[in-house]
């Protein structure tokens, strides 16, 4: 008994310290990036200015003045929000039908949907360019919204399906007895009950949309170019500009990290993929 007591006393110190150490290690690269973004390019590679340096906003002003940051950021917001909404709009009814009226084929359809996500994008690059150009939608926000929605649709349907599946069927049946229409079921029963799952799906999809960097770089020129494209334009300029690079990177990932922080509880609750029983 005595041993157990000392163990837990020790545990009270050791575990939190360990947890904090791991957390700080994981966060360090991001911290480093933010710190470097306030250094001049020359200072950024000098060991003597590792932590003590004169902070400057020069990298950020350069970014907004010369690289049109706001245009890219606006496009990122517009396309990611629209794509997330559209994905949900298509995925919620589909997942609902699959969860509450499963047929023998449901599982196969679901699996097939997921397998579309494994297609290597590079293999269909030229077909996509030909198609979108001939339809006249190359470099439009519409196209980016569609592409982002399509690549995330399988994940969204799967997440929602697993979430809906855990909602007791009786509740829905009770609703049907009360004479609710399908739409009524969705609105009155499903959405309130599955709100957590829908919200965390939306968050995850939004993150994936924001960070997508294959199609958003290759199917855009100016009109629909997002922050991923800004990064591509800055990642290897002449001279190795750690400061400038860090500022652009911080500005590109900053919004999503902050969003992630605020919504992490929500994210944790919904990210079950049916794994939690």
């Amino acid at each position: 008994m005595a041993i157990v007591a000392t163990q837990s006393k020790l545990g009270k110190i050791v575990w939190p310290v360990l947890a904090w150490t791991v957390a700080l290690l994981f966060f360090f690269p991001i911290f480093w990036m933010i710190l470097t973004s306030f250094k001049t390019d020359a200072d950024a590679v000098k060991p003597e200015f590792l932590f003590r340096f004169t902070p400057t906003l020069e990298n950020y002003t350069n970014m907004t003045d010369n690289y049109d940051y706001w245009r890219f950021a606006t496009n990122s917001i517009i396309t990611s929000v629209s794509a997330t909404l559209f994905t949900l709009f298509v995925a919620v009814p589909c997942a609902y039908a699959m969860a509450f009226n499963p047929s023998r084929g449901t599982k196969d359809i679901l699996m097939w949907m997921l397998s579309t996500k494994m297609l290597p994008a590079a293999a269909v690059l030229y077909p996509m360019i030909f198609l979108t150009k001939s339809l006249g939608i190359y470099d439009t926000k519409f196209l980016i919204v569609m592409v982002l929605s399509l690549i995330n649709l399988p994940i969204a349907i799967w997440m929602l399906f697993t979430y809906f599946k855990d909602i007791p069927k009786d509740i829905i049946e009770a609703g049907q007895m009360d004479g609710l229409t399908t739409w009524g079921e969705v609105k009155e029963i499903l959405v309130p009950l599955a709100w957590g799952g829908i919200a965390s799906t939306a968050l995850l999809i939004f993150i994936f949309c924001w960070n997508e960097a294959y199609w958003t770089v290759r199917l855009t020129t100016t009109e629909a170019a997002t922050l991923s494209k800004l990064i591509e334009g800055n990642r290897a300029p002449e001279g190795l500009f750690f400061g400038r690079l860090s500022a652009v990177s911080t500005a590109a990932v900053g919004p999503i990290i902050v969003l992630g922080w605020f919504s992490q509880k929500q994210l944790v609750q919904g990210l079950t993929f049916g794994a939690v029983k």
């Binding site: 590679v45 907004t64 020129t221 334009g233 300029p237």
Partner: protein, 431 residues
């Protein structure tokens, strides 16, 4: 500025909401540029052009590889996305011949004959100019005079490789974070292979024979690569297989390199005191030991604003542009794009601001991109054939593997030869 972008953001939002597309009254040119200092400066200098002509300019700046990929995919599928594109000397003649880019026509004021002949030839196909040089470069030796003097060595113009290696050994002082020589090692046909090819050239080797058969199994290649791996492996900084222009520039400016053989343009970025220049080393071969490259501007076939694009290029590569940069309050004569026109080197303000001017001009003028018996293709550090990027990147990875010791030089060259051979066969050069 902030107000403007906020306004633009707001308009963009409202446009999306109503589905109305922007209807510009004036001509608007979309220009794809590689994200280099000179090009970025051009965005500022060109504000005057917009003011004067009313032509609005939209810039898309991208990393070199991504730019190539985008411009290629757009042009190959009929174009239409860009009005002006940045292309290099490797692509210009090929794309011109394939009809991907328009022939350029300039007025008399432009003085086409002022263009450096080597550069002009490299950007033409069958005597027609398809791309106008924005800036040009060759390669040369840049070294720390102070370190060389302290070590009691000197590097002469077109010195022998043995002397260069000896100088690197003398300046090498890793204890104090000074490495004898910094050279490109990062795989890429425009990265390590640019330098490596000049070494191979100087040893008398070439990429292909007249039939297009790769020559990597030749003695010249073996000698050149062994020398390169030995030199950089012994006296280079750690991680050389990841270094290209950007990385080495940062290293050099940190005072960590005794010597650097790279693009002449680097000289205008060097911030370390006591830089001296020498023409590239040679092992006595007539092909020469220095490369020739230009970032040029071209009008892709399919541009809806071809005429306006042609006019813009005429302005951006003119004598007047050089002066505009030189007299610009933000830039000055040290930042003018060089390596394109003879007249630039005659400007006294430029001579005063650029100590490297003479060395650069001499290097460019001595570069020989023409096809010869020894090197039966156009281009110095590349071959102006469509398959070269593919061959070049495959071999580049093998050379990098040899440099980092993952393969021996012999293995790397044999594998490189096999890969190149397969690509050239596939392209129908021979059975």
């Amino acid at each position: 500025m902030k107000m403007k972008s906020a306004l633009r953001a707001a308009t963009a939002m409202s446009l999306l909401a109503t589905g109305v597309s922007a209807d510009g009254h004036a001509t608007e040119l979309t220009i794809a540029i590689v994200n280099n200092g000179h090009m970025i400066n051009m965005q500022t200098v060109a504000e005057a052009y917009t003011e004067e002509t009313g032509v609005a300019l939209t810039w898309v700046s991208l990393e070199e590889g991504v730019l190539r990929e985008q411009v290629t995919s757009d042009t190959a599928t009929g174009g239409g996305q860009y009005d002006v594109i940045n292309i290099g000397m490797q692509e210009a003649p090929i794309w011109g011949e394939a009809g991907w880019i328009e022939a350029l026509e300039f007025g008399d004021d432009y003085d086409v004959d002022d263009m450096l002949p080597a550069i002009r030839n490299g950007l033409s196909a069958n005597g027609t100019l398809y791309a106008a040089p924005f800036y040009g470069e060759s390669s040369m030796v840049m070294y720390r005079k102070d370190l060389a003097d302290a070590a009691g060595v000197a590097i002469a113009d077109n010195d022998s490789w043995d002397n260069v290696a000896a100088a690197a050994a003398a300046m090498h002082d890793p204890e104090n974070d000074v490495y004898g020589v910094c050279l490109r090692g990062k795989p890429g046909w425009g990265d390590n292979m640019a330098f490596v090819t000049t070494v191979v050239n100087s040893f008398g080797g070439a990429w292909f024979d007249a039939d297009g058969r790769p020559q990597l199994d030749s003695d010249e290649w073996a000698a050149a690569i062994n020398f390169y791996v030995e030199l950089l492996g012994t006296y280079g900084p750690p991680g050389s297989e990841g270094n290209s222009f950007n990385e080495i520039l940062a290293l050099y400016n940190e005072g960590k390199c005794g010597m650097w053989i790279d693009a002449t343009i680097a000289a205008s970025f060097l911030e370390v005191d006591g830089v001296a220049y020498a023409q590239s080393p040679n092992a006595g071969n007539p092909v020469g030991a220095n490369w020739l490259w230009a970032w040029a501007m071209a009008v892709p076939a399919g541009s809806p604003n071809a005429e306006a694009a042609n006019d813009f290029i005429e302005w951006a590569t003119s004598k007047a542009y050089v002066e505009a940069v030189g007299n610009h309050p933000e830039f000055g004569w040290g930042s003018v794009p060089t390596g394109t026109r003879t007249s630039t080197y005659a400007i006294p303000e430029f001579q005063a601001a650029a100590a490297f001017a003479d060395a650069e001009l001499a290097a460019i003028e001595s570069a020989a991109p023409e096809a010869t018996d020894l090197k039966p293709y156009v281009g110095v550090q590349f071959a102006a054939i469509p398959e070269f990027p593919e061959v070049g990147s495959a071999v580049a990875q093998e050379i990098a593997a040899a440099l980092s010791g993952a393969k021996t030089v012999e293995e790397a060259l044999a594998d490189g030869q096999a890969a190149a051979d397969a690509i050239m066969k596939e392209a129908g050069y021979y059975e």
